[in-house]
Subunit: 390 residues, 2 copies
């Protein structure tokens, strides 16, 4: 019997990946840049276990058994096994894979990046391969390649038709900019969701602006934000982050039929961040939105308390929601009353209660890692999960 358990981080892009040039190999039309977030707050945990006694391969996700006949899962497994030694004693054993997110997938926070990064990292450990694996994670879910590294990460689009150079690289570790924090505002939204995979496919097929973005705009932004990160220039970092989020959603709207991921609450958050920065006379917070209405706000630790006090004023918590369920993640004083001067200066008034589902406070963190404590394993010795629902 052989067992490996790993965790991998969620990542939040600041220069967005939107559009593939190769659907099968998952090759993007432009470079992208992200930060990996602390696995202490949000992560995927995956256990891979093999045994000569297992009758077949099994796959459990968030407590529910899934078909192993999942093309992206099988593709990742196939590539890992191609790169390992066929002389491994467990090479031909059947395996059981169990994966769990410690954050609600229903929240609309992209879980596939952390999920495939963790799967590929765990499989790489299990099959004892070394060297580049971000290209394997990329073939599970494009942005998963960025979650293979911690800190600040760039995904080079690459040029080779094989995709061998479409890999992620660390720009700087999390310790390079230790003050960086994220506040994630999870928005209540009842609209039907549509996937980023189909959305970006339709954008590439129908938008008459996407090529300009990918070819002319993004390369300059990747260069500029890399410099901003390396010099810890928050002003420039925030400016580029917000502009690029807006542009990703602009090309989504230029798609036909249009893809609209943000809603009125998202827009109200955008307005609030601009107001906050206007009041502070500098960029002190930066929003970014993925393929959903939730806002990720990048800001430095010195601004977190002020920003959350403003959020609490403008988006009051539903009285039906427990505050321990509402405020998640890193400890923080969430009780600071909003400054009367800001309220007056920005002409703020509260929206209805309950427009936000909850708030997560987290930081930039490390990449995937192996958990050696046997208590961390998600599988029992017979290959079935320790818990069958979560």
């Amino acid at each position: 019997m052989k067992i490996v358990t790993c965790v991998a981080p969620v990542n939040i892009a600041v220069i967005k990946y939107w559009g593939k040039r190769d659907e099968d190999l998952i090759l993007p039309i432009n470079d992208s840049v992200s930060a990996s977030l602390s696995t202490d707050v949000m992560c995927t945990k995956t256990t891979v276990m093999g045994s000569p006694s297992f009758a077949g391969d099994t796959f459990w996700l968030n407590g529910k058994e899934q078909s192993f006949d999942n093309p992206r899962l099988k593709k990742c497994l196939k590539i890992v096994k191609q790169r390992c030694s066929p002389n491994l004693p467990h090479f031909n054993w059947k395996i059981s894979i169990c994966s769990e997110n410690n954050f609600p997938t229903a929240a609309g926070l992209a879980s596939s990046a952390a999920g495939y990064a963790c799967l590929v990292y765990a499989l790489a450990q299990f099959y004892e391969i070394t060297g580049e694996i971000s290209d394997i994670a990329r073939q599970g879910s494009g942005s998963a390649c960025r979650s293979i590294y911690g800190g600040w990460v760039v995904w080079h689009k690459g040029a080779l038709p094989t995709g061998a150079d479409s890999i992620a690289r660390q720009i700087a570790p999390a310790t390079h900019w230790p003050e960086m924090r994220l506040v994630i505002l999870v928005v209540n939204d009842s609209r039907k969701k549509y996937s980023s995979t189909s959305g970006m496919k339709r954008t590439v097929e129908t938008s008459t602006l996407i090529k300009q973005r990918a070819d002319a705009v993004v390369p300059l932004r990747v260069e500029a934000i890399t410099a901003a990160i390396l010099t810890r220039n928050f002003e420039s970092f925030a400016d580029l982050t917000m502009r690029d989020s807006n542009q990703m959603h602009a090309v989504c709207l230029d798609t036909f039929p249009p893809c609209v991921y943000m809603n009125d609450t998202s827009q109200a958050i955008i307005d609030l961040v601009h107001s906050f920065n206007e009041y502070k006379k500098a960029n002190k917070a930066a929003y970014t939105f993925d393929a959903g209405p939730n806002a990720c706000i990048y800001l430095l630790d010195s601004e977190v308390e002020d920003f959350i006090s403003l959020v609490n004023y403008v988006f009051p918590k539903s009285e039906a929601v427990d505050r321990n369920a509402y405020y998640r993640g890193l400890a923080q004083s969430f009780d600071k009353p909003c400054d009367e001067d800001i309220i007056k200066a920005l002409h703020l008034s509260p929206y209805n209660r309950g427009m936000l589902k909850y708030i997560i406070h987290t930081r930039v963190g490390d990449g995937p890692k192996v958990l050696t404590d046997p208590k961390e394993h998600l599988l029992q010795n017979n290959g079935s999960p320790k818990t069958t629902s979560s």
Copy 2:
């Protein structure tokens, strides 16, 4: 004493004007195409009156006296007088101008286009000038130049630095496509408004996609929609109209800080139109949005009843609103129940009541005209309005 009263139409663009190359002369960065709407349903009416006994110039708008010291008003008046004969007996008389919209300006329906078209047309009549006047209306409010003509109209951006060739031309009269109708869905919206003038200025200054739109995308669309109008090809007309509305709002979102004019109700209308077309297996309705959340739906008369039945199902009228205030414009059967098959096929369900303020049903119509019946004049012989509030 001399008095002239005119009406002029509202126009709704299908290829959008968004961005100026000259703020002062109001010269656009791209051509645009619109239809002028029937003045029977929506119009501006303007009376210009002159008398040797008037002590000064006066200006009344929707029943309220305004300062005559309005730069755009004075500019239009100045150009008209430059083009008329200085030997007119009333050339040096003081004038009184009174203008009224027969639709609520608070509705967010662009009233400045009809307003300046009517002002310039009435001044041209008063000062007896002939020849091109769309370039004068343009200097009051850019899109006003298109309201100088009836039916289908193109505004050529022009190339001369003087703006003399930045004028409107009729593509086809309203009678060319007599079945064309519009259903305008006026959306309840409490957000703060921001003007299209400042929005498009910021787009030109900050969007990295607007140049691609203006230089590479719009010229092809203007050509294609002109052909669609001339051949009465609704399928193509609708496709181009929807794509161009989306792209205008995409470049607004690519503006920094972003300009967002549509809200969740606007998005729900977009979804409904796409669903309707999907059900009908052809483009039978086309949405377009200006700098606000209200939807203008172009469709042929044969589809109006079906479409409104769907709107009534999905966006039920507030019970507090009188149906005569809710359904405006051309007579139509508004009571048709929504087809159960459509509801099932499209998985439709109603939103909360009252998301729409009211619905206007209208058609493409003629350009400005003179009203000769003295009862139509808005001013009394002493130069003051017949009614002082509306």
